[in-house]
Symmetry: C2
Subunit: 338 residues, 2 copies
């Protein structure tokens, strides 16, 4: 049973360890925190904490190190609640104010800012709408027989592709093709697109194929698209001083692969989830903790974000950063997508 006193000691151990990255001993703890307990007593309590699996012992005669279970209870109940300082909130809000209006750009800026605020690595996925419908098509001649297909999908998503016709088409012809397809396809989702295109004239067939391809890609790709920033913050931590570990981390924290390893979709709905140590799938992340949250409206357009750092991270800081960031991005999405 975790008595109050033991909980307090655990809390102090974690605080010290988070700061110094070094095992903390009974005497050092008593000294640093002007506690009214002798080192001997603390030692006794530490022994209990160790029995119960909250802390570890690298070897006899080193101080104690928080175990994953210790972090767990710390995050859940011991940790002091913290809000992102007003000042940084202001800075962040300001940065977003003068940013563009592209969802990809938001994600990008979001990742940068989140990494900075959390002092760790951060991932923000590009917000994605759950449905993907045909909205509008534009054909623009580029030169000779090559034209640019500009496809606008629901939720202001944009895709493009070049097509090469077998002969040169005038802009009027191109507009005609676009107009006919616009009339035929308006509002359709990918599943509602006709797979059979034999009835179409050859030029329209080419464009139609491009549309199908791009809609399929849009449905797929956007979920994977994610922005990753601040890996340096993590790599600088002493736990990654060994290059082997650093490379291992770098393997996982790659812009193109993170989304596959982070438990981004494990969230029921609102709220922030914390995965500590080996609680998250990949064993490359066993020394790391991941903080995940979704943002945006769950029914409509939404995305996910995560902070990744060593298990020895400042949880309250990272969590408050994530919390603030979700609300900021959510309201941003709201204001543009209803």
């Amino acid at each position: 049973m975790l008595t109050d006193r033991r909980a307090q000691i655990l809390s102090l151990i974690i605080q010290d360890y988070v700061e110094t990255a070094e095992p903390v001993g009974s005497a050092a703890l008593a000294r640093r925190h002007a506690i009214r307990l002798s080192p001997a007593t603390i030692r006794n309590e530490m022994a209990r904490l160790e029995e119960e699996g909250y802390i570890d012992h690298p070897h006899t005669s080193a101080g104690r190190v928080p175990a994953n279970r210790g972090y767990r209870v710390y995050v859940e109940s011991l940790m002091p609640k913290e809000d992102l300082p007003r000042e940084t909130q202001e800075t962040i809000r300001h940065q977003f104010h003068q940013a563009g209006r592209d969802a990809g750009e938001w994600a990008h800026l979001g990742a940068t800012v989140l990494a900075q605020a959390a002092g760790n690595a951060a991932v923000v996925t590009v917000p994605r709408a759950d449905e993907c419908r045909y909205k509008h098509l534009e054909l623009v001649g580029v030169h000779d027989n090559v034209a640019l297909v500009v496809l606008v999908l629901s939720r202001a998503r944009l895709r493009q592709q070049l097509v090469a016709f077998s002969r040169a088409l005038t802009q009027e012809e191109l507009s005609g093709v676009a107009a006919r397809l616009n009339a035929a396809l308006d509002g359709r989702s990918f599943d509602e697109l006709d797979a059979d295109d034999q009835s179409l004239p050859v030029e329209e067939r080419l464009v139609y194929a491009a549309v199908r391809e791009q809609m399929a890609a849009a449905a797929q790709a956007e979920y994977d698209e994610a922005c990753l920033e601040g890996v340096r913050n993590v790599l600088m931590q002493p736990e990654f001083a060994d290059t082997r570990r650093a490379l291992e981390l770098l393997e996982v924290l790659d812009e193109h692969t993170v989304t596959r390893v982070l438990p981004l979709s494990m969230l029921s709905d609102d709220g922030v989830a914390v995965f500590i140590g080996d609680e998250n799938g990949a064993e490359e992340l066993s020394g790391c903790s991941v903080i995940v949250a979704r943002y945006g409206a769950s029914g409509a357009v939404s995305g996910a974000m995560a902070v990744v750092g060593p298990t020895r991270m400042r949880y309250s800081r990272s969590i408050s950063a994530v919390r603030y960031m979700t609300s900021l991005l959510s309201s941003l999405l709201d204001s543009y997508y209803q």
Copy 2:
């Protein structure tokens, strides 16, 4: 003066050092290469090479290490010419064949493939046209009073931005605005856009501002846009076993900053340039060499690529990879942009 024999010895030193990353001694050199010279003779020649600055000496009684000047002459005249193996050429061609048709995608794939082929880090900038002209504008309603501005620029470049009007506009009204702007702005470059917009109705003024903003951004941003891959390849090398060095490198090799530090624009025209050690500006790159080339037609749409690795790299391999890649991407661009 660099006699034939000394040149040969220098060449062998570099070959061995590139492979093993360890100082090479006279005896080891004689042994590995079945040379018909005794270690003592080699030592004498080595002493000369050192005097002349081609090789270095970490300390008495370690083997010799190539100096930057040594690499220089090696790359320029000693190095055996090498072509990318037919087989990998095939593989690469195949990968591009089944890739999309977006310039950004090409750059991305190019960087990945180049990094792989060169065994180092690779950067490929997104191809950029030297001029940037208004081509077409499309306005698509997203919801209520928010619309998506889709701006097509010359060379099939696409920009987008959301705008929020003070009232809801019908699709007809939007089309009208687009049509009027299309008529007024067709073919203009950014410089030719009128800075004064007071004469326009309020809705058009909003869209016009977006157009100006996006065209300015397009002219600027595309040059910076670059894909970076294969940093791991470099980080794995023993010269970066020390985490300090690794972090230093990581600082420079960031997707958003590489283009500023690499000498990408230093090229007169065709051909591949090699910058060895501190020949390239940033002192963070003093232990690295950079191979740079431009691709595309110099007058029309073009981009740059680079390979970055330790000075101890396989130059012939990297150079042949760059050479092949430039020709591949150039012909790809040619076929789509005339």
